[in-house]
């Protein structure tokens, strides 16, 4: 697999093993709770609900008994390039007031809520639909316990701004603060992982530094079964997937007839 994880010291990334994912949705729930994601009294309008971690159900399209089902958990891909070789994500290069940035030291694509003007150009530019606009004021129903769940580490968003997965950036800050307090300059593997990775009951999500050869993620992405979503668009996402099923890997990108090559050699 081609390696391009930026020039920064750390490039945090994620590997999601789709063969392990059961589609239980715990990652979505943990993410929403961790990041103060607002809810609506009626969440049926899926075009306008907010899910930093979104779960897509896919099938191989075959009739019973040959039907197979898999799930695609989709956080923000934290793209390293915009598709034309520029070292900037598709959303970052278009944002007019510089409200979103690709941090070259961590590889994390941030979102400054108080800077965002809500023009939604970033949403239009993102092929993964990983960006969400706040169509309503933040809503955390009182008396139902939700207000007590709010995390003081993550600022709630106001109406009219775009939000997205930050790879739980506040957890990186927390881990760094702890390391500095203990006199360390670097954090260990496992000290900083995202809420979804921590919560996944099937341990399908692995998080770490793609630039650190000792981290499990940097080893997992060497698997011949590793792939990324819409890899041909050259956005260089830092979220990888694993699946031994050809039809799942094929579904992660667009292919002209005869273009898709199944994995034939293991261990490459």
């Amino acid at each position: 697999m081609e390696k391009e994880h930026g020039h920064g010291k750390h490039q945090y990334g994620m590997v999601i093993d789709l063969d392990k994912c059961t589609g239980c949705g715990t990652c979505m729930t943990a993410c929403a709770a961790e990041n103060n994601v607002s809810v609506r009294p009626d969440e049926s309008d899926k075009q306008r609900s907010i899910a930093w971690m979104q779960l897509f159900k896919i099938t191989n399209g075959k009739e019973f008994p040959h039907t197979e089902v898999s799930y695609f958990p989709r956080p923000c891909m934290h793209c390293n390039e915009n598709g034309r070789g520029h070292h900037v994500s598709p959303c970052v290069s278009v944002c007019p007031p510089t409200a979103t940035q690709l941090d070259l030291d961590t590889g994390i694509v941030s979102q400054i809520y108080t800077r965002c003007i809500g023009c939604r150009y970033c949403q239009a530019a993102c092929p993964y639909k990983a960006r969400y606009f706040n169509w309503w004021d933040g809503y955390f129903p009182k008396g139902k316990g939700l207000e007590r769940y709010l995390s003081p580490e993550v600022s709630p968003r106001m109406r009219g701004v775009v939000e997205k997965c930050t790879f739980c950036h506040h957890r990186l800050m927390r881990a760094k603060t702890k390391a500095y307090a203990e006199g360390r300059r670097e954090i260990e593997e496992g000290e900083y992982i995202t809420a979804c990775a921590e919560a996944c009951p099937a341990q399908a999500i692995t998080f770490g530094d793609l630039n650190n050869p000792k981290h499990k993620v940097s080893q997992l992405i060497k698997s011949p079964y590793a792939f990324r979503l819409l890899e041909r668009l050259n956005t260089k996402p830092k979220v990888y997937y694993l699946s031994t099923k050809d039809w799942v890997r094929k579904m992660a990108d667009n292919y002209l007839p005869g273009e898709f090559k199944p994995v034939t050699k293991i261990g490459g």
Partner: protein
């Protein structure tokens, strides 16, 4: 009652009739006012925009009126820089239409962004790599230029012209109008282009992405060319509509024919380049992304008919009509061709905005649909109402058409 304000030597309807004429437009403005209040007070949940349709009806309206309003800068360029004297008979109308289109678009954008109070962040925290920053800078500056171009027309009002200071100020502004026409041309080239560039640089959306020259995707140049082709057509349509409503000849045929002829050649060049661009996209970007032409036109109402309508019916056909002198001299054919050209340009903007967003990029994603709410239509229609109202007021109280007096002598 208002006769002292009406230009000398021309005939206008009674104030009562004029008031009745303004009622529908005031109605549209009221509808827009309520919609704007709801959107600003309650938020953009009043619209049917969504995380899929991040840009929708308002952006289509915006891009459409800005393209159609291009008649202002381009007619100014032809009149003051190229020296097409006959266009002086239509330049005032072109400037007013341009001012209406641009001010309407800026007002709509103010409601369209989620945090209107932070609109100035675009200038303060400008990301120079964003095409939208270039659009914002150029549109804001050009709106000011249009304002400056509009001032001398206002100062020609019979009563204002009596004030010596205002008379001289207006006269001097007229003298240096070439400077503003040149500034307007420069600014307009860049924002028309950047509006196209906005879509061409969506490199991760194969439907919109384009190759290009240096930092500018091909859509940058195509949007400029299509705007200067359609802008004069819209100016012609507006003056023809004004002539129909007032039942008077307002602009000499020569001015209209000059605009139509220039528009014809620009539209023809645009069509050649647009077809070349479409083929380049079809055989370059599309297969590289693992897609085929029909992958984009499979679902929903957005079929191949869009391509046929945009390129053939509203592109090649009007270009041929306008290029044939006998056809463009015929009133019916001229209006048909202008209408088709304007429709084609609106369709082009619609395709880049709504169709582009409706087509999912991830293979397992689904197709979503979108229909605007009455609040969205309200804001769009308010721009139409505002346009009719401002143009009617300008026509009534200002000498918009310099040849009106000569073409329609009032018998005492």
């Amino acid at each position: 009652m208002d006769s002292p304000l009406i230009p000398e030597g021309v005939k206008r309807c009674s104030p009562k009739l004029f008031f009745l004429w303004t009622l529908p437009w005031l109605g549209l403005l009221a509808w827009g006012g309520i919609s704007a209040f709801l959107c600003l007070y309650k938020g953009l949940n009043q619209t049917n925009m969504s995380n899929i349709f991040a840009f929708a009806l308002w952006i289509v309206f915006d891009l459409a009126v800005i393209a159609l309003g291009a008649g202002a800068f381009f007619t100014g360029f032809l009149t003051y820089i190229i020296g097409k004297g006959e266009l002086k008979n239509i330049i005032n109308a072109a400037v007013i239409i341009g001012f209406i289109c641009y001010s309407g678009a800026v007002a709509m954008l103010g409601i369209d962004i989620g945090q209107p109070i932070r609109g100035w962040f675009i200038f303060w925290h400008a990301n120079v790599h964003s095409m939208l920053v270039e659009v914002s800078f150029c549109i804001t500056c050009y709106l000011m230029v249009l304002g400056i171009e509009f001032i001398p027309i206002i100062l020609e009002n019979r009563q204002l012209d009596k004030v010596p200071e205002l008379h001289f100020f207006g006269h001097n502004l007229h003298e240096i109008m070439a400077v503003f026409a040149a500034t307007g041309t420069f600014l307009s080239f860049f924002h028309q282009g950047s509006l196209g560039g906005m879509y061409g640089v969506m490199y991760a959306r194969p439907f919109a992405a384009r190759g290009g020259f240096y930092v500018w995707p091909w859509t940058f140049f195509l949007f400029i060319l299509s705007a200067i082709a359609a802008g004069p057509c819209f100016t012609i349509l507006c003056t023809k509509l004004a002539e129909k409503i007032t039942r008077k000849k307002l602009v000499p045929d020569r001015a209209v024919q000059t605009l139509a002829k220039i528009s014809a050649w620009l539209l023809a060049s645009y069509m050649v380049l647009k077809i070349a661009d479409t083929l380049g996209w079809l055989y370059g970007i599309v297969p590289k992304a693992g897609l085929q032409f029909m992958d984009f036109y499979r679902e929903g109402p957005y079929g191949v008919w869009l391509v046929v309508a945009e390129l053939l019916i509203c592109g090649i056909v009007p270009a041929i009509i306008l290029m044939i002198p006998k056809a463009r001299e015929h009133g019916g054919w001229l209006i048909t061709a202008c209408l088709l050209t304007c429709t084609g340009i609106v369709l082009n903007r619609f395709v880049f905005i709504v169709v582009n967003l409706a087509i999912p990029v991830m293979p397992f994603d689904r197709f979503w649909s979108y229909l605007p709410t009455w609040q969205e239509w309200g804001i769009g229609m308010a721009v139409v109402g505002y346009g009719f109202l401002l143009f009617s007021l300008a026509y009534r109280y200002l000498p918009v058409f310099p040849m009106e007096k000569n073409l329609n002598p009032v018998s005492e």
